[in-house]
């Protein structure tokens, strides 16, 4: 099994709303270290998505497009999409063309934050999560793959990908 040794850190049913535990810790520490990068912003899952922006305001789709194409965000390593300027695209994951038709912004946001909620065996990383990981490299420990603002920018861009 590809999932041998893989234990999803959370198994909350999608139908139930839940509040991220780390967010509560973050909130309790907010006074002590207001701008700490070591804590995740709080978010609330409703149904199969996160309806409210992680940053409290919508992202910038132009910045989001640049982020999707930057190899450091890892999107383009696995996904392809309507990006004629780059030939270095992956085919491990669905083409992003029409992503805005297939999913609501609320669903896109949850997919980026923690795709394992949809499928515990997915190879898509949880871009806004820190717990339940093994041997994280020194340079990457204690931070999510993407910041809340980066996720909002990417969500804003993906929502524009409509057929």
């Amino acid at each position: 099994m590809p999932s041998a040794g893989f234990k999803p850190s959370r198994r909350t049913p999608l139908a139930r709303s839940s509040v991220h535990i780390a967010a509560l810790i973050a909130a309790s520490l907010a006074f002590a270290c207001a701008a700490s990068a070591d804590e995740l912003a709080s978010y609330k899952i409703v149904g199969d998505g996160i309806p409210e922006p992680l940053t409290g305001s919508p992202g910038d789709g132009v910045r989001g497009r640049a982020l999707v194409l930057a190899r450091t965000t890892t999107c383009i390593l696995c996904h392809s999409g309507p990006f004629p300027e780059t030939r270095f695209q992956g085919d491990l994951a669905p083409d992003l063309t029409g992503a805005g038709n297939r999913s609501t912004t609320s669903q896109l946001r949850l997919r980026l934050v923690d795709a394992s909620r949809f499928n515990p065996e997915t190879i898509m990383p949880s871009f806004y999560r820190m717990g339940g990981l093994v041997r994280v490299g020194r340079n990457f420990a204690g931070k999510p793959i993407l910041s809340a603002a980066e996720i909002e920018d990417i969500v804003a861009f993906l929502a524009t990908l409509r057929d």
């Binding site: 590809p2 992956g90 041997r135």
Partner: protein, 259 residues
Amino acid sequence: MIFWRAIAAATLFATTPALLAGEIPPDARRSGYAFMGPDTQAMQDDDTINPGMLFVLDGEALWGRKSGSANKACADCHGDARSSMKGVAARYPAFDKASGRPVTLDQRINLCRANHQQATPLPYESRDLLALSAFVAHQSRGVAITAGDDPQLKPFIEQGRDLFMQREGQLNLACTNCHDDNFNKRLAGAPITQGQPTGYPLYRLEWQTLGSLERRLRSCMSGVRAQAYDYGSPELVALELYLMSRARGLPMETPAVRP
């Protein structure tokens, strides 16, 4: 129809008990050679342009050169490597009685240096160690891999398999996610191989030099943003052993060339 298919599937499953779900069956195993372009294949095939052959020639010179306070050369004990080393690399990593653990070919070379030549160990990825191991492994070119057949290695192969299946790093990916489940697909435009270690040490065009399997494993670990294991660590040796046993039957290619 479905009934007969189920029977056939059950029979197939019953005849391959050693194979776990998700693992690649023997007749579907393919070297990284099969995944690369004709230009790179031609570079590997022609010894006069294969850059790995320069290391093999260096290794041949080192094989005959006296070293250490014992003032002995490899050849003084092992004679002509063409016969004495034929097939050896296809059985490595091998069980070392003294330590009760598997050792890699690089580690065996350094054990020989310490015990028989009274020489200092060669550092991992140093030109001399790569050259010697390339020269020794080259004597097995074309020989089918049988590493891991020694029953004493069983627990170490299992440790290696567990590590191969273990998700790790900030990207939370296991080796198996790409190299068992998604070979033939493309990661950022480059083909994903099965990760069969048939040609190490090998010349990687990206590195512009020869490198070991451990170097390759460490670079995959960095790729998933995991803390890479140290050279020679029990984990890397176990992974190397599992990968070699997983490539059972494929012919050795040292020195291979890869993109």
